[in-house]
């Protein structure tokens, strides 16, 4: 019976996957009607397909791909995806091959998310077991978090739009997910590879180095104690063991292990040298690596392009006086850095969740955000479906996301095409969107902490129950 149920569930999982792929393919065949490629929500200066094609064209005519401030992505993408921008198949939509690559990237990301989610779930059960809370598993209806997360990622309209809108964010997201997958499956080289590529493509995933490290540190604990990448705080285990009357001092997880960090650093160094050498080769006659850093990372950090997007920085820097500009650039970027340490301290026992929070914060505060970034963190949110089942504001957040994603194109239309609105109309939706993400992060974190508290209270209450 149990098995049958499982079968049905997995069957419907694959159904949904296939349905979402078919839906993407249908949309790909109507690119002109939707015109998603030119929507500011989908394609930013960093992820725009048209800019990629332009960069490729410049390179083909032996000019620097960064000439004229058109292209700001990685030179590796030019070599890998560039040829797809010009290749056409007779009788097919123009960018069919490139769209197919994005679809494949999405599916691969979903599969990686699923595998990671299953890993996490096994770890979750392991944790509950080691805390003697197995009864809770039987009582509560547990969802397979891997499936849920993968389906959220695949069926999310944001992901679909980013995929059909020919932006490069599916590939960037895949790199981030690869990194997290490697971290959760303790494949140090893979994690390092994902991290290096993700950082190379969009800079912000660099801060994921903290959760990745934590997960490796915890992985060693795991060998000792039998709990996985995401677990309640260590204190709990200590209390548990004390209650059991075990003198488990020897079994305590070690605080920090230099070995794993050095291991990761070695691989990260190796991969980054590799990537840089490749970039250097491809940009040899166009100004070399310095040119690349200036027009990719420099472009991201100095917020040169002020065309509207779903973020809040474009409006701010369009309004700010020139002599304050540098100051506010520092303020906004330090804003992300400020949050790293407190969050890392508070959530160090749950590196995957920490990674989710970092990704969400980055997508909120990055200089050129797009809906593809939200697609990533919303997908990751699915991993914690069991832990976050008590989250507040779920209906409010859901309605907010639906409302904003409908309102944003309307406001843009009002501003650009009808001319009856102005930039403030569009910026208002961007602000609401930012607020929604803040609420999501705050509520998510507090729900996770509440979950940990609940587990602790269950552990502490249990002996009392037994006595009564």
């Amino acid at each position: 019976m149990e098995k049958l149920k499982k079968k049905i569930r997995s069957f419907s999982f694959w159904n949904w996957v296939i349905a979402s792929i078919i839906f993407r393919l249908i949309l790909i065949y109507f690119p002109k009607n939707l015109n998603l490629c030119s929507r500011p929500e989908v394609s930013t200066p960093l992820t725009s397909f048209r800019r990629l094609a332009e960069g490729y064209w410049l390179k083909q005519s032996s000019m620097s791909p960064y000439a004229g401030s058109m292209y700001h992505g990685s030179p590796l993408l030019l070599s890998l995806l560039g040829p797809l921008t010009v290749k056409r198949i007779e009788g097919q939509p123009n960018h069919l091959l490139y769209s197919l690559v994005s679809v494949i990237a999405d599916v691969v990301s979903a599969m990686l998310i699923r595998a990671t989610g299953q890993n996490l779930q096994v770890a979750y059960f392991g944790t509950l077991k080691s805390l003697d809370l197995v009864k809770q598993i039987e009582l509560s209806e547990v969802h397979s978090s891997g499936d849920v997360a993968a389906l959220i990622y695949l069926c999310n309209p944001f992901t679909i739009v980013a995929c059909v809108g020919l932006s490069t964010s599916p590939i960037e997201n895949m790199a981030v997910i690869l990194c997290l997958y490697g971290a959760c499956s303790r494949l140090v080289p893979l994690a390092a590879f994902g991290w290096v590529i993700a950082t190379h493509l969009s800079l912000y995933p660099a801060i994921l180095i903290i959760p990745v490290h934590l997960s490796f540190v915890l992985a060693i604990c795991d060998l000792l104690l039998g709990y996985g990448p995401d677990a309640p705080p260590r204190k709990l285990f200590l209390q548990r063991h004390q209650q059991k009357g075990l003198s488990s001092q020897s079994k305590l997880p070690p605080g920090f292990s230099w070995g794993s960090i050095i291991h990761f650093a070695f691989w990260a160094l190796l991969w980054s040298v590799y990537v840089l050498v490749l970039c250097g080769i491809s940009l040899k006659q166009f100004g070399g690596l310095w040119e690349m850093f200036k027009s990719t990372y420099g472009f991201i950090l100095t917020v040169e392009d002020l065309s509207p997007n779903v973020g809040v920085l474009w409006y701010f820097f369009a309004e700010v006086f020139e002599f304050f500009r540098n100051f506010f650039l520092i303020v906004f970027h330090v804003n992300i850095l400020f949050m790293i340490l407190p969050l890392a301290i508070r959530l160090h026992h749950r590196p995957c969740y920490l990674a989710f929070v970092y990704v969400a914060i980055c997508s909120m505060l990055k200089s050129y955000p797009s809906v593809g970034d939200s697609a990533l963190y919303l997908g990751l949110l699915g991993w914690f479906v069991n832990e976050l089942s008590d989250m507040q504001f779920s209906l409010f957040l859901f309605c907010g996301y639906v409302g904003v994603s409908l309102l944003s194109p309307v406001m843009h239309n009002l501003w650009i095409w009808r001319g009856t609105g102005n930039a403030n109309f569009y910026f208002a939706t961007a602000m609401v969107y930012a607020c929604l993400q803040i609420v999501l992060v705050v509520e998510g974190v507090s729900a996770m902490l509440n979950h940990d508290r609940k587990l602790r209270s269950l552990i502490l209450d249990k002996p009392r129950d037994a006595k009564s």
Partner: protein, 719 residues
């Protein structure tokens, strides 16, 4: 707001100190019934107060300076115009089979005053159903097929190059003219336009090019203007003209002849352009008139309730009233003028204002009752035409390209004999001249004044900041009631579980609750989503139905209804059935469904208020009470109190009224009498809506209809 509301419900155990805003949220949610009644009534009241709150218009853009220069249009120009009128009437008497002759005359006149002339040949384009048109930019990539040589129209275009301009900007003057069945009014409008045109070739102050478009209105005025605009704004570099020349030798010959006859002049066979259009005026003269004065009617509504900049209307109004002594009219719903209750409402407002004035003489906000009634009639028609989303004249075509445009229709007082004709040409011409001179002063495009407004008289308007308050009050109850329902259904399910349990069991139920409690709404959300998906399918269905040849409106409507019901059943069985068992197990499911429905309606109305305010306002008047009152009939019947009886009656009445076709028949019956309403009429109305790409159509299909279905399903919920 919603945040605080939801915040309030989450902490169930009473905390000693709650933040004031949270306390306020709790207060609002717990009194949501009272609050929603107060908000809704005040919203309706605020709507009726709008004519009182209307402000006087003012010229916002300083550069316009209307009426600062004395008019230069002299009797010489008037007699020029008169000559054209005479020639055209004569040629119409002589040859009436083709309009080519009169086009030639017009072109000749334009050439005589030294303008550049070209003909624009166009084929009438059928309006097609583009469900996605609203979000996509206007493009030229429309495929045009099956031209026939017999049906084409010719626009005559004359362009004056400004002596002081750089050719980057232009002002457009449009006169619709049907050469085949030309009425005297149309000819006279040509005469007025020509008199102005001949003046403008001589003046030195002109800084913007003047384009005079004589739009061939045999396929409708709008079609001609929009065809010309499409050609003007989005040039096609296809082999279309060559193709036409091969296919239709007659047309080609005609053009050849004309070129020969006007050789050596500024005539050109290719399409001529001037600069960016700053403003456009469409000039018409009505044939008969029953008015007491010479009046001029202004039509401003473009597609989807877009209005031209208020400054343009202000300039016309100012010049017409203060300089030319013309009475200015805007459209009003005449049936409103005879409503007794409206009159007494106006009297109440007036007496209230008088009382306020007697208390403090500084309070001066009242208006006389008659003025109030008239203001309401104009406001109602303003709302009605904006809500319809169909342009009220050829000026609508300009708004699609962000050009401010209005239609001016002159209705002369007396029969058009010689003296009065001259007078009309003089005054009409001076009005047009004044407006053009004002617009000519503009340094940038119109941007100072309002785009979002409702008129209550030609010189009074309600701006977006005022009418949005009425709308916000109308829809304010929605999030509150949604939150309160959500809280109730959550807390009640908790109570029912925790009621009989011992303290030790509470932890278990608590733990059990972890899994699904806060995400239980997902099932309802799924139902709501399915119904909205169905709404989208229903909205697309007419596209396929109208492909069926030889279908009367009534049959088409029947097919539509049948297909809609069928698709609902299919969707329900395919997508919703696996979850039906889950639904049945929860007792208060309807409350959650209602909560999610209300949230979706809130989003839909909010969205629509940005796209087309008038539609959202009318929709809110219908849907908000229906959503708020919906409650399973079974529960009310079981209760059997007076209050529940009232609710049943309200629910049944609203359930009938809010169904879109029923609402249409009711509205139609109120405006035109119930005799004319039939089933086919609804289909025709819907067809006209999607032919004009009205967002109202999408609103009805994707917000109102799903909302109605959900509310009805709540009414018949078995609990």
């Amino acid at each position: 707001m919603a945040e605080t509301i939801e915040n309030s419900h989450s902490d169930e155990k009473p905390k000693p100190r709650v933040r004031p805003i949270v306390r306020f949220g709790i207060f609002l949610v717990s009194h949501s019934f009272l609050v929603s009644i107060v908000c809704f009534t005040s919203g309706v009241l605020a709507l009726f107060l709008l004519p009182v709150l209307a402000k006087n218009t003012y010229i916002s853009e300083n550069a316009l300076m209307p009426g600062s220069a004395s008019p230069m249009l002299s009797n010489q120009h008037v007699s020029d115009g008169n000559r054209l009128v005479k020639d055209l009437t004569n040629s119409n008497l002589k040859s009436s089979e083709t309009g080519i002759e009169s086009h030639k005359i017009i072109a000749q006149y334009m050439l005589d005053v030294g303008a550049e002339v070209s003909f624009h040949k166009f084929h009438p384009q059928m309006n097609q159903f583009h469900p996605l048109h609203f979000f996509s930019s206007p493009d030229s990539g429309k495929i045009q097929e099956n031209y026939s040589c017999s049906s084409y129209g010719i626009n005559t275009v004359g362009i004056i190059r400004a002596p002081r301009g750089d050719g980057k900007e232009a002002i457009v003057l449009v006169t619709p003219y049907n050469a085949l069945t030309s009425s005297f009014g149309e000819v006279l409008s040509l005469g007025i336009a020509y008199s102005v045109f001949s003046l403008l070739t001589q003046v030195t102050w002109l800084a913007k090019d003047i384009i005079w478009l004589v739009a061939d209105s045999q396929f409708g005025e709008y079609a001609a203007v929009s065809a010309w605009l499409r050609e003007y704004q989005t040039p096609k570099f296809s082999s279309m003209s060559a193709l036409n020349a091969e296919m239709c030798p007659d047309i080609n010959n005609l053009f050849e002849i004309e070129v020969h006859s006007m050789a050596g002049s500024k005539f050109s066979n290719s399409f001529r352009r001037a600069g960016t259009m700053t403003a456009a005026l469409v000039l018409k003269v009505r044939d008969q008139s029953e008015q007491f004065d010479d009046t001029i009617s202004i039509y401003a509504e473009a597609s989807n309730g877009q209005m031209p900049n208020l400054d343009l209307i202000n300039v016309v109004n100012y010049l017409a009233v203060h300089r030319q002594g013309l009475r200015v009219n805007v459209e009003k719903l005449w049936s409103f003028l005879n409503l007794g209750w409206l009159k007494s409402l106006g009297e109440i407002f007036e007496s209230l204002a008088n009382i306020a004035k007697s208390l403090n003489p500084k309070f001066k906000f009242g208006i006389p009752a008659t003025e109030y009634v008239e203001g309401t009639a104009i406001l109602a028609s303003s709302l009605y035409y904006q809500a319809l989303g169909v342009p009220t004249g050829p000026h609508g075509a300009f708004r699609d390209y962000q050009v401010d445009a209005i239609t001016l229709e002159i209705s002369p007082k007396f029969s058009l004999d010689k003296v009065w004709r001259n007078d009309i040409i003089l005054r009409g011409g001076r009005l047009i001249e004044g407006v053009i001179r004002s617009v000519n002063n503009l340094l940038e495009k119109f941007h100072q004044s309002f785009f979002l407004y409702l008129l209550t008289s030609p010189s009074k308007f309600v701006s977006v900041g005022v009418y949005m308050i009425a709308f916000a009050l109308l829809i304010a109850p929605l999030p509150m009631v949604a939150a309160s329902l959500y809280v109730d259904s959550n807390s009640s399910s908790n109570c029912s579980k925790g009621d009989s349990s011992t303290p030790s069991a509470i932890t278990d139920t608590d733990e059990h609750g972890i899994t699904i409690r806060s995400w239980r709404w997902l099932n309802s959300a799924k139902l709501v989503f399915i119904v909205h998906l169905w709404g989208a399918i229903v909205s697309v269905l007419p596209y396929f139905i109208c492909q069926i040849p030889d279908c009367s409106p009534t049959t088409s409507f029947m097919i539509w209804v049948l297909l809609s019901i069928l698709s609902l059943l299919i969707l329900n069985s395919v997508l919703a059935s696996p979850f039906a068992c889950v639904k049945a197990s929860q007792e208060k499911e309807w409350a959650l469904v209602k909560s999610v429905t209300i949230s979706s309606v809130f989003i839909g109305l909010g969205l629509m208020s940005v796209i087309n305010f008038a539609t959202a306002e009318i929709g809110a008047l219908l849907m908000v009470p229906m959503c708020l009152l919906a409650r399973p009939l079974k529960l009310d019947v079981r209760a059997g109190t007076f209050r529940s009886c009232c609710r049943i009656i309200c629910n049944l009445v609203l359930g009938h009224i809010a169904f879109p076709p029923a609402a249409f028949f009711l509205l139609k019956g109120m405006l035109d009498g119930f005799g004319s309403a039939n089933v086919g009429g609804f289909w025709m109305w819907v067809e006209s809506l999607w032919a004009w790409n009205s967002a109202t159509y999408l609103f009805i299909g994707m917000v109102q209809l799903p909302c109605w279905v959900l509310c009805v399903s709540i009414l018949f919920h078995s609990c």
